[in-house]
């Protein structure tokens, strides 16, 4: 019966192939979209793992760039039990670097799709750190990410850089804003930010597109570059006991209700919830695509069963039961689901591998065995469901009725 069912779906290869395309594309969508979701989870997880302190922002500010806190808040936070170091920061969108604004870079990269996409993702941001307090932080993301001496990573900002024109660039920006001789920026080179020339003293690389778009400088220098003479964007808080970061964050929020103290656990949870919602939206989207795939299978199997209705009558006259006919047609559609699953998952694997060649900044599409298993199961279930109605239609006729109907 298995071989018989297999042969039946090969009888009309073109029609079968078209139905398979119809079902394999939604499966490709399922695997592709969820591999993106996996990739985003991994990227954000890796990013957040590099940040171990608590960040205090204005309530509802989506990121430090859009936050504004009073200058006296760091001193107040220092008095909270469990707090070890409080380091104020300011953040802002960078002025044009090397006379290249976001619009100019985007226009310049119009011919290159990868660069065009990255132009938007890589909007440079300037952060000004209080070099005196920041030097005491043991969990500083950018300091830890400084390239080793062997790779000419230079040095990080310290107390001596107060008010200086020294900056630490990401490796990405070092490559993006090259010197006039087309060599990447390195410690000792100059970089023009806005109308001022700055000294590059260090190069870092976090391998996260969410962190590598930042130019680090002293807070007083950043105030001038960002034209922000007063106030702060956020404070970075390091705890005596990193395990108690959630507790300290709650204490800060309780003491200063207008501000949001976000531990990385909280970020992880918020992001997890966001991704959960995204997964539901993706699930809904692919469900619609799968529904279209089911319609394709139903249509193919209906046409196939109508064409072969006499054959089912013949099988019945030879002792096949209704359940046998039902099983045969369902098996055929399950086979189609299986093949579509293999096609969809195969295409997704190829597509993801190609896409990963063009993605950078730590974002990689991730296809897990579970995702492939899910794709296969969805495809087989969808294919089987699509065959149930045609199978029922084929099985319910009395043998002679089916033969007469089929020979009309």
């Amino acid at each position: 019966m298995w071989r018989f069912a297999w042969r039946n779906i090969l009888t009309r290869p073109t029609r079968t192939f078209l139905a398979l395309i119809g079902l394999s594309i939604p499966i490709l969508g399922v695997v592709g979209l969820f591999s993106l979701s996996n990739g985003l989870r991994m990227l954000v997880g890796n990013t957040l793992n590099q940040i171990q302190g608590v960040i205090v922002l204005r309530n509802n500010a989506p990121s430090p760039v859009f936050s504004d806190i009073p200058a006296d808040l760091p001193d107040k936070i220092r008095s909270i039990p469990g707090v070890k170091i409080v380091s104020p920061e300011i953040w802002g969108i960078s002025p044009p670097i090397e006379n290249t604004s976001l619009i100019a870079r985007t226009l310049n990269n119009l011919g290159d799709q990868q660069k065009r996409m990255q132009s938007f993702l890589d909007t440079p941001v300037v952060t000004g750190q209080d070099t005196i307090t920041h030097a005491k932080i043991t969990t500083s993301v950018y300091r830890k990410a400084l390239l080793p001496a062997a790779e000419n990573g230079g040095r990080y900002l310290n107390e001596t850089d107060r008010g200086s024109k020294n900056v630490v660039l990401s490796k990405k920006f070092a490559n993006q804003f090259k010197n006039s001789d087309n060599s990447p920026k390195k410690p000792g080179d100059k970089v023009k930010i806005g109308n001022e020339q700055f000294n590059v003293i260090g190069i870092y690389h976090t391998n996260s597109m969410l962190l590598d778009g930042v130019i680090v400088m002293d807070i007083e220098t950043a105030r001038r570059v960002l034209n922000r003479p007063n106030g702060l964007s956020d404070v970075y808080v390091e705890m005596n006991d990193p395990v108690k970061s959630d507790e300290v964050a709650q204490l800060i929020e309780k003491s200063f209700p207008d501000f949001d103290a976000r531990s990385m656990n909280e970020f992880q949870n918020s992001f997890g919830n966001l991704m959960g919602q995204l997964d539901r939206v993706l699930g809904l989207t692919v469900s619609l695509a799968l529904a279209v795939g089911v319609v394709g299978i139903v249509n193919t199997m209906l046409m196939s069963t109508l064409e072969r209705i006499a054959e089912f009558g013949i099988l019945r006259t030879n002792g096949w039961s209704q359940n046998h006919v039902l099983g045969l047609v369902t098996l055929e559609s399950a086979y189609m689901g299986l093949i579509a699953g293999v096609m969809g998952c195969g295409l997704a694997l190829v597509g993801v591998n190609i896409a990963n060649q063009f993605l950078s900044g730590g974002l990689q599409l991730v296809v897990t065995p579970y995702l492939l298993f899910l794709g296969m199961i969805l495809s087989v279930v969808t294919g089987t469901l699509g065959g149930l109605y045609p199978a029922w239609k084929a099985a319910r006729l009395a043998p002679m009725e089916a033969i007469r109907f089929g020979h009309r």
């Binding site: 099988l315 006259t317 096949w320 359940n323 046998h324 033969i403």
Partner: protein
């Protein structure tokens, strides 16, 4: 002892908004091992009667009893089993499955339960008996009408049924091929001791010892 009995069998079909009665109370009895011919003009109800005997259709009224079992009291799954175990059917249009080889077509009744080597050997032997031992792997489209009908005969007889029903088995064959096919059918019927019921309007194949049942306008004449 009767193998086949019908008692006052009536069969009606819906036709448009009305009802058309094809059989008007047919009662007959066919002994076991007999070769019986149901003859009559086209549209007289011969094939309908054959289908009722083969549990392939349900009478509107009356009873059909095969080997002591009342078909009209059977459920659909019981009828499936009955057809599988006791009835072999041969159609005018051969009705082979196009995707399957000659051997696989003969094995069709056993496909859902799985094919054992013993069944395969039995099917090969049956095809050899009908003269197709060299055509086992050919598909219907690669065979002539006479060969296809011989495959159908092998399929009907491979399960050693108690009753073989043949609905115009030579209707689509030329005279000589028809004679060949009928000769094979009759030889196998004698060899296996099967009860054979043939619907035909071709009286050439009737022999003196055969039972002839003549139907006209849905009524049994003789």
């Amino acid at each position: 002892m009767s193998m086949i009995e019908t008692h006052d069998v009536t069969k009606s079909y819906r036709s448009g908004e009305g009802v058309m009665e094809i059989l008007h109370g047919v009662s007959l009895s066919i002994p076991a091992g007999q070769c019986a011919f149901i003859v009559g003009p086209s549209g007289s109800g011969k094939s309908t009667l054959l289908h009722l005997i083969g549990a392939m259709d349900q009478p509107t009224k009356g009873r059909v009893v095969i080997d002591g079992q009342d078909l009209t009291k059977m459920t659909e799954p019981q009828k499936d089993l009955f057809r599988r175990d006791k009835i072999g059917i041969i159609f005018q249009a051969f009705n082979l499955v196009g995707n399957l080889t000659a051997l696989e077509n003969v094995l069709v009744p056993f496909l859902p339960r799985g094919i054992t080597p013993e069944l395969r050997d039995r099917a090969k032997a049956m095809l050899t008996k009908v003269g197709l031992g060299h055509r086992l792997t050919h598909r219907p489209i690669q065979m002539s009408g006479g060969e296809q009908q011989r495959v159908a005969i092998a399929r009907a007889l491979v399960k050693n049924p108690q009753v073989v029903l043949a609905d115009e088995p030579t209707g689509q064959l030329d005279t000589r091929t028809g004679e060949d096919v009928f000769r094979i059918l009759r030889e196998l019927q004698r060899e296996l001791g099967t009860t054979l019921v043939v619907v035909t309007h071709d009286r050439r194949f009737i022999q003196p010892q055969d039972l002839v049942l003549e139907i006209e306008d849905g009524l049994l004449k003789k």
